[in-house]
């Protein structure tokens, strides 16, 4: 990829316009450009893992330099995501690709898997960069710029694993309570998320299935053309016709291959990202509910005078602010997310339709030129026969 002219706005592959996100901020003032590439395998005595090169170019003042190059592994991305969720529990954090594919026998170091993951990681960072709030997150900056050892030492700070686990347990316990007092608009949001999740999962499965069927069709077609060549060996008078048919079939075969790759670049990653997004959204709802639950339990305590109530009003005040902040943040981000989702889905399916149109147009041209050549031949022959 040309390093001088890249930007997350430019498609990373001819048909993939996965990074075209519209946002309310002025698109012209984009000042942070990130790429993820060059996966590399590292072997140590304990383990083998892949790192990805991350190049950042920026004109922002808070960055020490205008260009950074670092190497990160999947674990590092996980860490970053965790930190972002911690800092902004009710913002819609972009999803990470899965740890490993559960279904199918895909090895962690399979080329296709690595490439798919690389693209998803690239998307992940760019979505953060485009997010009006997350783009200024400190951990994000460190992720993009720190050297390996710097990152390690930075990671060690902050709440440890145990305390984070404790938080999760409390979250699960209190989230149920939060659901009961959920405001109307968040009930609607939750319904939408549930249904959306169902539908997008189905669409993901259907799309994968289509890819699989197209692949199997392609595999059979590959055999089909050559049989006509074989046949032409025993038919003197039909040699040309048979060979022409064979070449038409082969060309349609190639067109199918192109259609398949278009599907896998334009549609599948987008749909899959939104499957992950839907899981993410459910997490966000839970966290919002949990924050509300904290408030509700304090209010309850005050109402029923269960514990020492002196400090409660002050705590409640803080919690009320917290809840209001969280709700507002979510509401704003929700609108933004919905808008992006519509655009992304629309684009992905329009691309798929375009791929199919192109495929059929190519095949049409192939067979039409075959017909023309046959008709021309026929006209030649009949004109020769005329006395």
């Amino acid at each position: 990829m040309d390093m001088n002219s890249f930007s997350p706005m430019m498609p990373t592959s001819p048909l993939s316009m996965i990074n075209q996100i519209k946002f309310e901020d002025e698109p012209d003032l984009k000042d942070l450009f990130i790429t993820v590439d060059e996966p590399e395998s590292h072997v140590t005595t304990i383990e083998t893992f892949i790192t990805y090169r991350i190049i950042t170019k920026t004109s922002r003042g808070e960055f020490d330099s205008s260009e950074f190059e670092v190497r990160r592994r999947y674990q590092d991305f996980l860490w970053l995501k965790g930190k972002l969720e911690e800092a902004h529990p009710t913002l819609i954090i972009p999803p990470l690709p899965e740890k490993f594919i559960v279904k199918g026998m895909v090895e962690r170091f399979n080329d296709d898997f690595i490439e798919t993951r690389r693209k998803a990681l690239h998307k992940f960072l760019n979505r953060i960069a485009d997010h009006p709030t997350l783009t200024f997150n400190e951990d994000f900056k460190i992720f993009l710029t720190a050297q390996a050892w710097e990152l390690s030492s930075h990671k060690k700070q902050g709440p440890g694993l145990l305390s984070r686990m404790g938080q999760t347990v409390r979250a699960v316990a209190s989230s149920m309570r939060g659901v009961k007092n959920r405001p109307e608009e968040f009930m609607e949001m939750n319904n939408f998320i549930e249904l959306f999740s169902q539908k997008i999962n189905l669409i993901d499965k259907i799309s994968q299935r289509i890819y699989k069927e197209e692949r199997e069709y392609f595999d059979e077609m590959k055999e089909y053309g050559p049989i006509h060549i074989l046949w032409s060996a025993s038919e003197e008078d039909l040699v040309d016709t048979l060979k022409d048919v064979a070449s038409c079939i082969d060309r349609c075969c190639k067109a199918t291959e192109k259609r398949m790759s278009g599907l896998s670049e334009a549609l599948l990653p987008v749909v899959h990202e939104y499957v992950l997004y839907s899981e993410m959204l459910m997490g966000v709802m839970k966290r919002r509910d949990q924050i509300q639950a904290e408030l509700d339990s304090k209010v309850e305590a005050l109402t029923y005078k269960k514990t020492d109530t002196d400090l409660l009003p002050e705590e409640i005040g803080k919690l009320e602010d917290k809840v209001e902040c969280a709700n507002n943040a979510l509401k704003a981000d929700w609108e933004r997310w919905k808008q992006n989702m519509q655009n992304d889905i629309k684009l992905a399916f329009t691309d798929m339709a375009e791929e199919n149109i192109h495929y059929y147009e190519q095949c049409l041209a192939t067979w039409e030129s075959f017909l023309t050549s046959q008709t021309n031949l026929h006209l030649e022959e009949t004109s020769e026969d005329k006395p």
């Binding site: 249904l195 669409i203 025993s234 399916f349 199919n356």
Partner: protein, 450 residues
């Protein structure tokens, strides 16, 4: 055997061929050719004018198929399909056709007709029947003989069979064929009365037997190789085609699932809802379009299958030649050995082994009178043998000449038909592509409006 028709002079006009792939095939072959598929109208007319000795023209069609139940030879109830054969004669002047005969036949009667033709015309490449059971099916297609689509395609195949015979310069004149079209009752008895089963050389059916023929006509050996290759390559092609059809079906049908999900999704979307809903509809249209597409392709497969079965007919002619040649060589060998025996008896030298020779050695010499008698017998046999050999030779040469003439005719027919079939395949693909472009263009519009 009585001739049933009112006009004993009436002859059959060879009806021109209707290509299988043409959707009008079911409506009968009009003599005034207009419904041909892509290509060869002219050659159809040419064939006609060459054979145009006859005064009246006829049209043959297998116009209907009906399920029937009856009792079979073992008095058990069976279900079978009967086919209506209609024969029309076309008036020269105004081109109007009049229905002259109409009767019902079942598949087994067609088989009987063909078996008869094979025996009486061994030098002719006899047109094959459509398959008895559905083969080379892709999984969605039924392998059931009672399936309406299969019955329909078989109806077309049987019509094609009759048209091929009717347009063959020699076969069309056969009386049994004529009676097949006109004599409903008693036809089976009439055929069997010809005694053709007795005439049939059982060795022709023995496919695995090889005859050590020393001097086969090279053209027939080559033809046999060709027919083997033709059979093998068309089988292969049909098998792969069936698999491709299967896969294509899968691709189209899965898209139908989008329709349902889009529709459900549109219920929760305010802005995207309409676009999703209508796009979903187009996905349904796309998914269901494959059924017609593949049904059309079955007709193409049937055209290829006809030539797959023709390979067998070619082999039958080659086989007949082989057998004749074998018989000839055996007869010549037998004659030569008899001549030698005769010579040895006359001169007293024993070079060839014979049982008589052995017994004479063991039990004493025979008398001169006995020897004279034997020589006389042998001389008679030798005379007979020479006559037979002469006539066999003649027969053989006639056979080769006639067979080869028909084979040349067949080759031209095959080249025309296969070319037309391949062209019709291209036409089908074009139609499929146009439908695809239409549907996806509509879908794209819906998506872009979301």
């Amino acid at each position: 055997m009585e001739q049933a028709p009112p006009d004993p002079e009436r002859q059959l006009q060879p009806a021109p061929l209707e290509p299988l792939g043409c959707p009008d095939a079911g409506l009968g072959a009009a003599v005034s050719k207009e419904a041909a598929g892509a290509g060869e109208e002219d050659s159809g007319v040419d064939t006609m004018t060459h054979n145009n000795f006859w005064l009246k023209k006829i049209e043959i069609s297998v116009s209907e198929a009906e399920k029937r139940t009856g009792r079979n030879a073992m008095n058990m109830q069976e279900t079978y399909t009967a086919y209506l054969i209609e024969t029309r004669s076309v008036e020269h002047t105004d081109g109007q056709s009049v229905l002259t005969d109409s009767l019902w036949r079942r598949y087994s009667e067609f088989e009987l007709l063909r078996n008869y033709l094979l025996v009486y015309y061994p030098h002719i490449v006899v047109p094959p029947l459509p398959e008895k059971r559905a083969e080379f099916v892709w999984h969605k297609l039924s392998a059931d003989n009672m399936d309406p689509d299969f019955v329909e395609r078989r109806r077309i195949g049987l019509e094609n069979f009759l048209l091929r015979i009717a347009s063959h310069p020699i076969l069309c004149r056969d009386k049994i064929f004529y009676l097949f079209l006109t004599q409903e009752g008693n036809w089976k008895e009439t055929v069997n009365e010809t005694g053709f089963q007795l005439k049939a050389d059982s060795r022709l059916k023995a496919l695995n037997a090889t005859f050590r023929v020393k001097n086969p006509d090279k053209r027939f050996t080559d033809l046999k190789h060709y027919s083997d290759e033709l059979q093998s390559v068309i089988s292969h092609l049909l098998r792969v085609r069936a698999r491709v059809a299967d896969r294509l079906y899968g691709v189209y049908k899965v898209h139908g699932n989008y329709g349902r999900v889009f529709s459900e999704w549109s219920a929760i979307e305010k802005e995207m809802g309409d676009g999703l809903q209508s796009a979903g509809h187009h996905m349904d249209v796309y998914a269901s379009s494959i059924d017609d597409i593949l049904e059309d392709e079955e007709h193409y497969a049937d055209q290829l299958k006809e030539y797959l079965f023709y390979a067998e007919a070619l082999r039958a002619v080659c086989r007949k030649h082989e057998l004749m040649q074998y018989d000839l060589e055996m007869a010549a060998q037998d004659l030569a050995s008899k001549k030698q025996q005769c010579e040895e008896l006359a001169t007293g030298t024993v070079r060839t082994f014979s049982l008589k020779g052995m017994t004479t050695k063991l039990f004493g010499q025979e008398t001169p009178e006995q020897r004279e008698a034997r020589i006389k017998v042998l001389e008679e046999q030798i005379n007979e043998g020479e006559q037979q050999l002469k006539s066999k030779n003649l027969e053989g040469r006639e056979f080769v000449k006639n067979a080869w003439a028909d084979i040349e005719r067949f080759k031209e027919q095959k080249n025309r038909d296969l070319k037309e079939a391949l062209i019709s395949y291209a036409v089908m693909q074009i139609s499929m592509c146009k439908k695809g472009i239409q549907v996806w263009t509509n879908a794209k519009e819906c998506f872009s409006k979301m």
